[in-house]
């Protein structure tokens, strides 16, 4: 079953609700045993990077999630800060990231966005940078709901599967083997987000 990691952070209910609308059951898991049986894992995250990392490290779930994702190759989708946690580090904090995707998370560069306000909040169109199971058959003009002040910069450009523009182009989603991440909130992005979650559920 699709398992949403409940480490005390993020909008878990909405993710479960959107998956249900797409026709997939999901469960919230706050103990290692329920993650053990997961065939897909969703890692949510919202708020400050350090807070998310600390909570995740303390939850006792990091070990089992790591084993599932790295050894068993269970597909994982990080959402929002859940994506940023996949990287090696973040300018927002001092905690180390998981480092499953090479690269870091940086703040929107003020000089490059001019008058635009941070956080970037609202609906923005995305562009497909690389074919991926996560983004197959998306709408012709897919748009998603974003709320973030930081964005990821993958070291290997081929990890970027979606990009978006806010003053400049930034990475909106990554995909590397069984590991995926989205900066936006698919659970709050109508049929566009539903399609993306459905794609993830079918991987």
């Amino acid at each position: 079953m699709i398992t949403i990691v409940d480490y005390g952070v993020g909008n878990l209910f909405s993710i479960k609700n959107m998956l249900k609308k797409a026709g997939f059951d999901a469960k919230l898991a706050s103990d290692a045993a329920s993650i053990e049986t997961a065939d897909k894992i969703i890692l949510p995250g919202i708020g400050a990077f350090d807070h998310c990392m600390t909570q995740f490290n303390r939850s006792g779930l990091r070990e089992v999630v790591t084993r599932k994702v790295i050894d068993d190759k269970t597909p994982l989708l990080g959402i929002c800060v859940g994506l940023q946690m996949l990287m090696e580090s973040s300018e927002e904090g001092s905690e180390q990231g998981l480092g499953w995707i090479s690269g870091k998370t940086v703040k929107f560069v003020k000089e490059k966005i001019g008058d635009l306000k941070v956080p970037h909040m609202g609906w923005t169109n995305v562009r497909i940078e690389k074919e991926s199971a996560l983004t197959s058959d998306l709408d012709l003009q897919p748009r998603f709901y974003f709320v973030h002040s930081y964005h990821v910069v993958p070291e290997d450009k081929s990890d970027e599967i979606l990009s978006a523009h806010y003053g400049y182009d930034f990475t909106a989603a990554v995909g590397r083997k069984n590991i995926f991440g989205a900066q936006f909130h698919p659970e709050k992005s109508h049929r566009f987000g539903m399609k993306l979650l459905e794609n993830f559920a079918r991987i």
């Binding site: 909008n11 878990l12 209910f13 909405s14 609700n17 959107m18 609308k21 919202i46 708020g47 400050a48 306000k117 956080p119 909040m121 609202g122 609906w123 923005t124 169109n125 748009r143 709901y145 709320v147 909130h185 659970e187 709050k188 992005s189 109508h190 049929r191 987000g193 539903m194």
Partner: protein
């Protein structure tokens, strides 16, 4: 293409959906869950849901009811009404709401804004600044559905709220509410210049060009009530939302 958020604001009164004129003359317009379902089908950018009874009745937010409404919403939701502490905010966010809206609590207890921002991030705190002009023509902030004057200046209060940690300001003109006479552009411009956080304008929208104008005067997003629930000229109840084509053509075109 750059987009701006276009946000229907829904008022809940005695379990029903209502719409006011100048924060008075509440008229029943339907069932909230049904309305959320329709707005969902229309793929609205975001919804603001405000329980206008909670604060007045001194009762806490009805979490079960919020959860019921939100379970039909696949877009971001902001909820306001009766919030006085951070524990309530945790409960509200945990049922699938993205943001909470403070009005009286922000005036009485600005530290609550700071506390919510610290615990849940500033993107989760919206402060609704409801204002109207006093006898001398000076704008003043009101609370409790526009009934109680605070004596505060909306521009200074907006700045204070930004400093306290608010993520957004909902600038709400009481005098323009339900009037279909356009936004208060002068105040939008002043508040937008005074703060660096996004400001959502509400009160008076009658057309897509009003949305566009509000953005041209500095609003980061636009909201409305009557515009989305009434069809003019006779104010027949009809839930509507502009199509993507119309938004692109009349609102986003100059962005």
């Amino acid at each position: 293409m750059k987009r701006v958020r276009v946000i229907p604001a829904l008022l809940i009164h005695k379990q029903g959906l209502v719409k006011s004129v100048r924060f008075k003359d509440y008229r029943y317009v339907g069932d909230p869950i049904n309305a959320v379902r329709i707005f969902n089908e229309k793929e609205v950018d975001e919804l603001a849901i405000i329980d206008i009874d909670a604060t007045r009745e001194n009762r806490p937010p009805n979490i079960a009811r919020i959860a019921e409404i939100v379970s039909e919403a696949f877009m971001p939701i902001a909820y306001g009404g009766g919030i006085i502490n951070a524990d309530q905010v945790r409960d509200i966010l945990s049922v699938g709401v993205e943001k909470i809206i403070l009005n009286r609590a922000a005036v009485k207890n600005p530290e609550l804004v700071t506390e919510i921002a610290r615990q849940f991030g500033s993107q989760s705190v919206v402060v609704s600044i409801d204002y109207k002009k006093n006898f001398f023509g000076k704008p003043v902030v009101y609370v409790e559905n526009g009934k109680t004057s605070t004596g505060l200046n909306p521009i200074l209060f907006a700045k204070q709220m930004e400093e306290a940690g608010a993520g957004e300001i909902l600038l709400n003109s009481i005098e323009r509410d339900g009037g279909f006479e356009g936004y208060d552009l002068e105040m939008i411009e002043k508040v937008a210049h005074a703060v660096n956080i996004p400001m959502i304008a509400i009160g008076g929208a009658a057309s897509l060009s009003d949305f566009k104008r509000a953005v041209q005067y500095g609003a980061s997003a636009v909201s409305a009530g009557s515009f989305f629930v009434f069809q003019r000229p006779h104010r027949a109840v009809l839930i509507s939302y502009p199509s993507q084509q119309d938004l692109e053509k009349y609102v986003y075109d100059w962005l």
